[in-house]
Symmetry: C2
Subunit: 570 residues, 2 copies
């Protein structure tokens, strides 16, 4: 009887093909143990697609990139690989008003497709994106500057995992609304009142994804897929530096939509340029009802305060903090932190930025290590990690933006007369890309009163070791900066139960995720889909979490109808 | 091992006492068939408490009302019963800054109490409120003007049902987050990575409830209880006309909190006056992180646009609409609609306000009834319902605000030369309260082009019968006004399947709840807890629904910690 019943045979096939995975994913979001739908290791992918990816990427360069759109007004695209060459790909640009008008007209049909068809389309697209991972890795590497390996994992399977997670949350949220019920209220001597009730999942409206240049797929997929499967058309506004990964994504989605018999323009790319940005124009259009944003606090806060007509989900800047109190094994800790600081040259939203260490030193095993000794251990660790440039390029990646190189220089200079350079940032020569912008981390030492210097995010391979009057001050500085700036990640190293309890409490007070005593090969930067909530949504660094119920539940509303039950149903 | 484990013996006892009800409630929100935790009929309550309620109410009049607070700066209270007398109750007022500072300091302790303790406290309080229903009915009647019977049901058990529903949703949302897990990721030849993860439910912060004067308990309880059980202290800012029902509510909650060993000031009343309103001051304080509001669109929209630091949940004005296309039995339909229009003199947020009828008439059974005949049927129905003043007062209630009397006059005058008065509003004499402001509905006829007159809510017993060029125009006018103004309720009468399908579609397009062919003793004004979603959150009349996931999920965040698993746990 339901109008939501699937009538689309292609989608039916896809749904039955992917529903075992969907079931596992729904179970995983509730269990939150380890689970991943897609293998993260390149070796698990076909050798031929790995081998041909670079050549395939080359064929895209310097060419127009074709997508389904409407009202094309020109071409744009000035992507530069941080590895030292121009991509020269030209993407179509559409008149924003025509784009939104077109998507607005598609809402009813996509809504009426029902949750099952929409989920089937999404899961089929995600599977095709998974098969495309080797090419996607090239696209991500040469727009974000990520290392080849990170670009494969974070740009490919890890982003796809996040997409499946968002689909699973959305499916779970939609599935808990019954399609219909016979409501019977006993009225004593007056018999009973009987109503037939129906419920429909109704999308909020056009969903806008404003993507970042460092993790274009990983950060965009959750909002994109959550919006799409809950019935909203999606317009993706990529960062002008990192369009290709999302252009490839839109192409796949448009193909799948077309095969399922829907208008491919349910997902469109809105390419802009630095001189003529589109985000604010789109974000304040009354037809845009959902906005997912990853980027600067400045624009994120602006969106939260000006896009009143929309539900706004933001991930912004913060101040990721490490508190060092005490530890068992300094080599292990320094090894772990040294890698955390180096990974993708600190360009992750979870990279450590400030490390508080008591001036009086820390207990390591039974022994007191001075601030300088701890700092030295960290410096040595980074020196060791980055000793072999070829190997180091495998996790440092390249610096996405010229601005970050400038920032390194500025931060180094800003501490003059107040702090010291513990480890200077060096340029490394990439074995395959001699013009790549590769930099090792810059480690600076400051005193706790220098909060004007270390107290806000300096994006890139820049970290401060801050000399505090003890762990109590480290904790209180953390409280202060995180209440003001927020953070995605907080880490503590301590062997003391009371300090650990204080840190657990502090983490709750400032609503930040806490990593404790990570000294092996798991890093504070990492976020495991289906287990870790990325961001809490409760501090200034992000107003949402990837992915929790709050990220999903306001993307659709439930519309009911009710009527007297007929004798047949009563 | 969990720090959330209950250590509070009083709360443990309450939890075990109330958990069967909680289980039923959780099951009910998923099933959405008929279920209610509390009987709605006064007869189900002890005869002695029903008998003594009026006298008990009398003892409160003219007295100071005592509550737990901090920084008392004076007394306020100028409530006037719409039944014609002053309540003369004086409530404590607190310095807003001291109030918020106090509640801020209580957040950690209430958070650490854990979901189970908080739910136990809430359910115990709701049960005590249920026992208090006869007195609450007096308080609601003599502040809102509701009839005795409605005040009992809507102010008592129905509001308590909504409270249980909010607790059930909150419990369900918190319970789905595991307390901890052992996360083990296989790493091939490198063995496995093992982390112990813990998750904590962390409240967002102080929650502000800005209540309305017509349904102070029914509209306030969902937000109040959802916020409280998810760990947030709650400050209730009652409407100056309707303080007592919420003062009684706060008193009960403070008693229960005290018995459980918590600070009673986790729930406080912030009484203001018309000359010195407090809502905007409280709503923009950085410590206030959640706001529930019921009231005017003007202030609701202001809150949505200015209280950036908070999650804002609003229920505002709309334009509840009835589309009459065709029907089987006009006596039944007119009877139903006549009562809908009369109930609480149109002062419900679900009362019909505009009724579209084709100028060419409607098919009734096999016969065409003219606009005038349909209008006459409706007029006769209301005349019949209100023929016996004593009986009529039992559902009309009294007019809450003087302003509504003025509005009746204004609306009557505004149509001069453009429309006609089909049925004038009459004053009735209440048998027990001769000074009560009792008014029968005003029915006005207008043409479809007179949207400037009928196109926005005229709160109170005022409804427009609008002559359209046919059902197609009725549907399109509905689309237009609901997109602009929103509505909580839309109703249609039709015997035609194609019109019904169009109405179902329209309801989804404008995200409004639809009642179809109600012609018995269930009315479009009614909203059944655990089954009906009250408001969709998708149109301008309300940005949230009572109660769905979106109403709950942003009241808390999840904060995790993770650490290497020890050998013992691995």
């Amino acid at each position: 009887m339901s109008s939501d019943a699937m009538t689309n045979s292609q989608a039916t096939l896809w749904f039955s093909r992917h529903s075992p995975l969907l079931d596992q994913a729904v179970s995983a979001i509730h269990q939150r143990g380890y689970w991943a739908p897609f293998p993260e290791h390149p070796k698990a992918y076909p050798a031929e697609s790995l081998a041909s990816a670079a050549a395939e990427f080359q064929t895209l360069l310097g060419q127009p990139f074709e997508l389904q759109g409407v009202g094309e007004i020109g071409r744009a695209g000035e992507e530069q690989s941080p590895y030292g060459f121009a991509l020269g790909i030209h993407y179509p640009q559409y008149d924003p008003d025509t784009l939104l008008e077109t998507q607005q007209s598609l809402i009813g049909g996509w809504r009426d497709a029902g949750p099952q068809t929409r989920v089937a389309v999404a899961l089929e697209a995600i599977h095709r994106l998974n098969a495309l991972s080797p090419l996607m890795a090239q696209a991500v590497q040469h727009t974000t500057g990520q290392s080849a390996n990170m670009a494969f994992q974070a740009g490919g399977p890890h982003a796809q995992d996040r997409a499946v997670e968002a689909v699973a949350y959305s499916w779970d949220a939609m599935a808990e609304i019954p399609q219909s019920v016979l409501w019977r209220k006993p009225m004593g001597k007056r018999g009973q009142l009987s109503l037939t009730k129906r419920w429909h999942i109704v999308p909020r409206g056009i969903s806008l994804s404003i993507a970042c240049c460092t993790f274009p797929t990983w950060n965009t997929y959750p909002g994109l897929f959550a919006s799409l499967v809950t019935g909203n058309p999606v317009v993706i506004k990529p960062h002008p530096d990192s369009i290709l990964p999302l252009a490839l994504t839109v192409k796949v989605l448009q193909e799948v939509l077309t095969e399922a018999g829907y208008d491919p323009r349910l997902v469109m790319l809105a390419v802009d340029t630095r001189p003529a940005p589109l985000a604010a124009r789109l974000a304040t259009d009354p037809r845009v009802r959902l906005i997912d944003f990853t980027g600067s606090s400045h624009f994120g806060n602006w969106l939260e305060q000006h896009a009143h007509q929309a539900e706004v989900f933001t991930e912004k800047a913060g101040l990721n903090t490490v508190i060092i109190d005490s530890m068992a094994d300094i080599t292990a800790v320094a090894g772990n932190l040294g890698f955390s600081l180096s990974l993708y040259s600190g360009q992750m939203c979870t990279s450590p930025q400030v490390i508080y260490i008591p001036a009086s030193g820390v207990m390591v095993g039974g022994e007191c290590w001075s601030f300088e000794q701890v700092a030295d251990a960290l410096v040595s660790s980074i020196a060791q990690w980055t000793a072999d440039p070829a190997q180091a390029c495998g996790f440092l990646g390249a610096i996405q933006s010229e601005g970050t190189l400038v920032r390194i220089q500025q931060c180094r200079e800003a501490i003059t007369g107040r702090g010291s350079v513990l480890l200077d940032s060096k340029s490394l020569i990439h074995p395959d890309f001699p013009s790549a912008r590769v930099q090792t981390p810059l480690l600076l030492a400051l005193a706790s009163q220098d909060q004007d210097l270390y107290g806000k995010e300096q994006f890139g391979p820049i970290a401060y070791l801050v000399r505090t009057h003890g762990t109590a001050e480290s904790l209180s500085l953390t409280r202060q900066t995180l209440l003001a700036q927020g953070a995605i990640a907080l880490a503590i190293y301590t062997t003391r139960d009371d300090v650990l309890a204080q840190a657990e409490n502090l983490a709750q007070d400032v609503a930040v995720s806490l990593s404790i005593n990570l000294d092996g090969s798991f890093y504070m930067n990492q976020s495991a889909t289906f287990s870790d909530f990325h961001g809490t949504g409760g501090n200034p660094a992000a107003n949402t979490s990837l992915t929790d119920r709050g990220f999903i539940s306001r993307r659709f509303v439930v519309v009911q109808s009710r009527r007297p039950a007929t004798a047949a149903t009563d």
